[in-house]
């Protein structure tokens, strides 16, 4: 009995530990799976505009929800790609806040992925083709950590910056509100 | 020296316990106090190190309110009285005296632990507001830990004096417990000065 418990606990730790601590340095290839192309939902793009559609999320689950390193990278990219410019650390400003329970375009990883890739009307640029999809997934994981959707031992802690308020790993898990009906599910996001 | 007929020192007549520095436990307690004293000292040093690196102090916060901290200092100094009497009673093997003064001491302890809660509220800063907040919370927290543990030790010892079994060395325990209580009280004075006046004058 005792060894069994030990074994179970140990393997649980193993899985949690290994996934949480994994550092994947090889950039996975972009989603090559055949899927219908999603139209850009925003005229805005960072840098020079690209024509053409963007890819769909090739999966519903975020590959990085359990990976502290990737989430942390996502946090860095969130700053580097100036998401702060509109979402200011998730508090919202020009863009909607990301640390609350309201999800205009859906709180599912695939939906967030689409929101970033396609962009959204009212000013959310379409980042598809401007950010490797692997990095988009990292940002997706980080965005989810902002409203406490991730495990506490995975979500990032405070940065060495000035920021009032609790760090992501100290936030309460908010139950995402269902989408308001007047916002049709944008095509591609499911 | 394995000569069976050699004369020997017969120690069977020696006492089986002794007070103060004659007792090994006294040295053990002293060692603990040295360690904890060093921790306090280093934390205070950290406080002034951070202060010396900051143009404004207490950074963006208001200095802590004086009321509760000062009140607590008074309570703690007063608690030295029952503490001293407990020590004296212990060294006279006066069981009723020990019981009485330990209980009084515990009451004082409850008082200053309760006031301590108010102190945290009166710091006017959160531990995660800035480095100043972090260090004062740590300093106050460290001392609180010692307060609580010492109070718990005293409680256990006090209970033992009601239930037994008692033996002579328990009176030594009483004496050393009082010494540690003194330590907790005396170390508070510099910490009080740093927390409450380091953010003001000094």
């Amino acid at each position: 009995m005792k060894p069994l418990i030990v074994f179970v606990v140990a393997s649980a730790m193993l899985l949690a530990g290994c996934e949480r601590e994994a550092r994947r340095f090889d950039t996975p290839a972009n989603n090559q799976t055949a899927s219908e192309q999603a139209q850009r939902a925003s005229p805005l793009q960072p840098g020079a505009s690209q024509g053409g559609p963007v890819r769909d999320a090739f999966r519903d689950k975020s590959p990085y929800d359990g990976n502290a390193y990737a989430v942390n990278q996502g946090k860095q990219l969130f700053r580097w790609y100036n998401c702060n410019g509109c979402h200011s650390n998730g508090g919202g400003g020009i863009g909607p806040p990301l640390m609350d329970a309201q999800w205009k375009y859906g709180s599912e990883p695939a939906q967030i992925f689409q929101t970033i890739m396609q962009g959204r009307p009212e000013g959310m640029p379409s980042f598809g083709g401007h950010i490797p999809e692997d990095q988009v997934w990292q940002i997706v994981a980080y965005v989810r950590s902002m409203s406490g959707q991730l495990r506490k031992d995975v979500a990032p802690s405070r940065s060495d910056t000035i920021y009032a308020g609790p760090p992501e790993n100290a936030r309460m898990r908010l139950v995402p509100q269902p989408q308001t009906p007047d916002q049709p599910t944008p095509q591609g996001a499911r | 020296m394995n000569d069976a007929r050699a004369p020997s020192i017969d120690v069977s007549g020696l006492p089986s316990f002794a007070f103060s520095h004659r007792s090994p436990m006294w040295w053990g307690t002293l060692g603990m106090m040295a360690i904890e004293g060093t921790v306090f000292a280093l934390t205070v040093a950290t406080y002034f190190y951070l202060r010396s690196h900051s143009d404004t102090w207490p950074m963006t916060a208001r200095p802590p309110d004086l009321l509760w901290g000062t009140l607590n200092t008074a309570i703690m100094l007063l608690s030295a009285v029952p503490n001293h009497l407990a020590k004296r009673a212990g060294e006279r093997y006066d069981v009723p005296g020990v019981r009485l003064w330990i209980i009084v001491g515990l009451v004082f302890g409850l008082a200053f632990i309760a006031v301590r809660v108010m102190e945290f509220a009166a710091l006017n800063v959160r531990w995660d507001s800035n480095a100043y907040g972090s260090v004062v919370w740590t300093l106050l927290g460290l001392h609180t830990v010692h307060m609580v543990t010492d109070w718990a030790d005293t409680l256990v010892l006090g209970v033992l004096f009601f239930t037994g079994p008692l033996e002579g060395k328990r009176f030594v325990d009483v004496s050393e417990n009082s010494m540690y209580w003194y330590f907790v009280v005396w170390t508070w004075l510099p910490i009080y000065l740093v927390i409450y006046w380091g953010a003001r004058a000094l």
Partner: protein, 654 residues
């Protein structure tokens, strides 16, 4: 129940009980063996408080960690054996060198010294157990759990990867995601707690449990070195505990100790860490000096030369070692004037060491040498450590340090100092005291082979690193490009490292074989002068059936004058009773009843582990954890009526 206390009974000396005094073989002696024995059975295995039992386990544990750290180093040397090697990537390599440094510093070097002391000191001082034997057991258990925790984490890819020095911000919340660094920082809490407890145990043992007549002026130099070391522990280790706790808080609850943006400072970590870190080096090195002072007189067949100078040097070293931590920070922007001061102190500390080296040389010079393996390891010290000391002087100089700091030159220096100053003496001590531990002699032949392999391998492994550093190779690189001119030196270094490993392995084989089938050792195989050689090999459970009375610094060489009392009698033989003596003159002061075997230290350690590991993941573990810890601690303190009755029977008021 307090009536007997109001009017103390005349019980005590006159009660008809078994008292010690009669020589080995007598009924009393057999009773003593019985009284001080460890409890039998599976559950008994968790309860011993005998310092020899605990220390044996402790030594084996630390040596196991030593082996583990060595294996890590072997992988690192393999990776660096050729340029652009691809054996391990940066992620694994960073974990490897962090684990190596951490293991060697926190899980091997400091604890192994303390634990050899907890085995030898009672024997050297002529007492039956260490002070606070249950604390001693507790210290072992939390050390074991802390070390296991770190390695289990490493096994689960959660090995720390920010270096054994864990500089912020690299180890901070922003740049070290996950829990790797937290496990490292919590391991510090475990091991430092263990070390602090051991320090108190050692200090009290030396101050209060010396055999009658062993005045401080007659204290064996090894005991002096451990006394000095333990005091250093008391004042050095709190610094790193504070630093690592602040680090965990920064990472877990968002404090700002090390966050420049919110008034914290990255150098605060370096100050706190090195305020501990440099004394740390000396509390690894000073016990090594103690080993030398124990071994050299025995194999030079004469008392040590310059005992007083030796003691004063030890104390001076301890004081100075707190005044030179900044020489690890010369490359930062600290005031130049301060750097000058720290240069001076860093060089000054060479003087006490020099004095001791000269005294040892004088002892050897004026003695007659018995060239056995232990002495060989000691002689190697004079080569390796002195060379390391010389490079230490170079590092103490600000301008030179700016060039060689954080290069392989430093790697060479610190290994010359630590392996030459601590590991070689430790091996010497191991060969010296193995007969006492095990009752069997180790093989001289294997010993010599092991020594020469270690000596040659060591120098081949680490001397080239001096040159690598000067030729511009920085530390902590997982690989290096071809064409930098570092290839051959690195290859040589790798070959040397594996030779060194082979030598150490031979000693291990030697120990295992000898423990099984070595020739039985007499009480005093080397003709040593200190008290441990006055009792059997291995010692009885009570160490001495008759606590000796001491008349000189080498009691075995200086027997009592005719007619003078040779031993102590009158301590209970059928109950654990110890003689307490006065601090300075070791006059018999009082007897105390001694703790019996108990599971509480083990259970308390388990509870402590739950608290510490829990607080890696949630701050609330501090709250519910303390409750879990309080329970076994109360159980530990609470006397059983049987014990109390036994103590009462022996009680006598002052």
């Amino acid at each position: 129940m307090d009536r007997p206390l109001v009017e103390p009974p005349a019980r005590g000396s006159d009660a008809p009980r078994l008292k010690d005094g009669p020589p080995p073989g007598s009924a009393e002696a057999r009773a003593l063996d019985e009284t001080w024995a460890d409890p039998p059975g599976f559950f008994g295995w968790f309860c011993p408080v005998n310092h020899k039992t605990i220390a044996k386990r402790f030594i084996v544990t630390t040596l196991a960690f030593f082996a583990a750290g060595g294996l890590l180093a072997a992988v690192m040397r393999a990776q660096l054996s050729r340029p652009e090697n691809n054996l391990v990537g940066p992620d694994m390599y960073n974990q490897l060198f962090t684990m190596h440094g951490t293991t060697m510093m926190f899980l091997f070097a400091v604890p192994v010294m303390q634990t050899v002391a907890t085995y030898m000191l009672p024997l050297m001082l002529g007492t039956r157990n260490v002070a606070f034997p249950r604390m001693n057991a507790y210290a072992y258990w939390i050390f074991l759990f802390g070390g296991l925790m770190l390695y289990i984490a490493f096994f689960f890819n959660t090995g720390p990867d920010a270096g054994w020095f864990a500089y912020v911000p690299l180890s901070g919340p922003q740049f070290a995601p996950g829990k790797r660094v937290d496990f490292w920082a919590q391991m510090i809490t475990f091991t430092e707690m263990s070390a602090l407890v051991e320090a108190i145990v050692i200090i009290t043992t030396i101050f209060k449990f010396r055999a009658p007549g062993m005045t401080l002026n007659r204290l064996p130099l090894f005991a002096w070195s451990m006394l000095v070391t333990s005091f250093m522990v008391l004042f050095a280790m709190p610094a790193v505990m504070l630093a690592s706790t602040a680090l965990i808080m920064d990472r877990l609850i968002g404090t700002h100790f090390y966050n420049p943006a919110e008034g914290g400072d990255a150098l605060l970590w370096q100050h706190l860490f090195w305020f501990f870190g440099h004394p740390e080096v000396y509390l690894i090195f000073i016990p090594g000096l103690g080993f030398l002072s124990a071994i050299i007189p025995t194999f030079a067949r004469r008392p040590i030369f310059g005992y007083t100078a030796m003691v004063l040097s030890l104390i001076a070293t301890a004081f100075l070692s707190f005044g030179l931590w900044v020489h690890h920070m010369f490359a930062t922007n600290l005031p130049e004037l301060g750097k000058g001061f720290f240069t001076a102190v860093s060089m000054l500390i060479a003087i006490p060491s020099a004095i001791q080296i000269y005294c040892w040389l004088a002892t050897l010079w004026t003695g007659r040498l018995n060239l056995k393996t232990p002495l060989l390891f000691v002689l190697a010290f004079f080569f390796i450590l002195v060379l390391g000391g010389m490079t230490g002087l170079m590092l103490a100089s600000v301008p030179l340090d700016l060039q060689v700091h954080d290069t392989y030159f430093v790697v060479a220096h610190l290994h010359y100092v630590l392996i030459g100053g601590a590991v070689f003496p430790l091996f010497g001590a191991f060969y010296y005291w193995f007969p006492k531990f095990s009752g069997r002699m180790m093989s001289e032949g294997l010993g010599r082979w092991s020594f020469w392999l270690m000596f040659i391998g060591f120098n081949l492994a680490f001397f080239p690193m001096h040159l690598l550093g000067l030729h511009g190779m920085p530390r902590r690189v997982y690989t290096y490009q071809a064409g930098m001119g570092w290839d051959n030196l690195n290859l040589a270094s790798t070959i040397g490292a594996y030779t060194l490993a082979l030598g150490i392995f031979l000693s291990l084989v030697n120990a295992i074989r000898s423990a099984r089938s070595g020739e039985p050792a007499p009480a005093d195989p080397w003709g040593g002068g200190t008290l441990e050689w006055a009792t059997a090999s291995p010692p009885a459970t009570c160490n001495f059936h008759r606590v000796p009375v001491v008349y000189g610094r080498d009691p075995v060489w200086e027997p009592p004058p005719p007619g003078a009392p040779a031993y102590v009698s009158g301590l209970a033989a059928d109950s654990r009773e110890q003689l307490v003596t006065t601090v300075l003159d070791a006059l018999p002061d009082h007897r105390i009843s001694y703790p019996t075997p108990s599971p509480w230290p083990f259970l308390s350690a388990v509870a402590t582990t739950i608290l510490f590991v829990g607080s890696i993941f949630t701050p609330w573990a501090i709250v519910w954890g303390s409750v879990i810890v309080a329970v076994p601690l109360v159980g530990w303190f609470w006397p059983t009526r049987r014990e109390a009755a036994e103590h009462m029977a022996l009680e006598k008021q002052p």
